[in-house]
Symmetry: C2
Subunit: 210 residues, 2 copies
């Protein structure tokens, strides 16, 4: 099938609208088969030279989960110290991660040294490998949401420390920490907007001309 | 609507399967309303701190289109020089871009200095802004394909030169050059695979445990 209906396009747009960065999760477990189906979306993502540089680590050990929570808390305290007045009060009240709550914790790396794809397309812009990993994450995020699951992307982290503590192979670089599980509630408005931090644009981005 | 059916999930997976990096385009124009609808998918993408750092430039002037083609040719000749033997012959035979053919040429930048979002989530990992731009590109790519259009992402470029020649504001960094138009044919197998450069994985990625 390579033709898609207007109904499908409408539903796809709704999916994008309802895809959220989720920070509030129920403790309910995620069926491993559903997780595996969603992870399959990585393999359908574009990757530079077909290098498929995504590397996925599920973090289950209590010690390592505590490590990443400590890592977040340190980085978050430093971030908070950079704000003052009302912004600081607002920031302090935000819940920015579901590391303790979400049953699935995924560290997503880019293998910067992969030989797959033989370097095609990544000579002048080696960051294309990391961008390919983000493309995989987006596919995963959308399919996961279509299953009713939620994803939260945590970036308030010392990435080098997280990488070290996970003892991954040389050359892997952390792109994302994802919390995955059943969301406490479905919302089509980002929490940062509800809480008054920032607003989304209601229109397509400006198309500058050259 | 926040519930999605199994039929929708199947169609979404098909969309991901049929989404291709397109390098062969028909010269037919693209309806500006359809383009605008697809660009709206950027505004539905996740962005760190709701910073929405994507900046889109449509390149129409003949001179600037020639510039980017020259830029590609130089970078591509250098890339080719890095291969030898059969790999070099194979590389030389690949069509890796549709800069001349596709009616819509989009340079996609990240505004590294945007104040939107007040820096939330991007203190320790400022690359999150660029990753947000990639998230927007993926939303756009999927919706574009759902409309029957094709997208090709060109990365064989000197990004600094392309940025300079487009005279964009200080602090904008090139993330992608996208060729957009009607594909000559629909394929569910990547051209790099058909031509024997590299193969896609048929299974989800390995889930390493820690």
């Amino acid at each position: 099938m390579d033709q898609f209906s207007q109904d499908f396009r409408n539903d796809l747009t709704e999916l994008m609208r309802w895809r959220r960065d989720v920070r509030h999760f129920k403790p309910d477990p995620v069926d491993p088969d559903v997780l595996s189906t969603c992870l399959g979306a990585f393999s359908l993502a574009p990757s530079v030279g077909l290098s498929e540089p995504w590397r996925l680590v599920q973090v289950q050990s209590a010690e390592r989960r505590q490590n990443i929570l400590d890592n977040f808390k340190t980085a978050n305290a430093e971030a908070l110290a950079g704000y003052s007045g009302e912004r600081a009060a607002l920031y302090a009240g935000l819940k920015l991660q579901g590391i303790k709550d979400a049953p699935i914790q995924l560290a997503v790396f880019c293998d910067e040294q992969t030989t797959k794809g033989a370097g095609l397309g990544a000579q002048t812009m080696p960051e294309m490998r990391r961008y390919s990993v983000v493309a995989g994450i987006m596919n995963f995020w959308l399919l996961t949401r279509a299953h009713g699951l939620g994803v939260g992307w945590v970036s308030i982290l010392d990435a080098a420390r997280a990488t070290r503590e996970l003892e991954v192979p040389e050359g892997w670089r952390l792109v994302a920490w994802l919390c995955v599980g059943w969301p406490k509630d479905a919302k089509d408005v980002p929490e940062l907007e509800t809480r008054g931090w920032e607003r989304r644009s209601a229109t397509p981005p400006t198309l500058y001309q050259r």
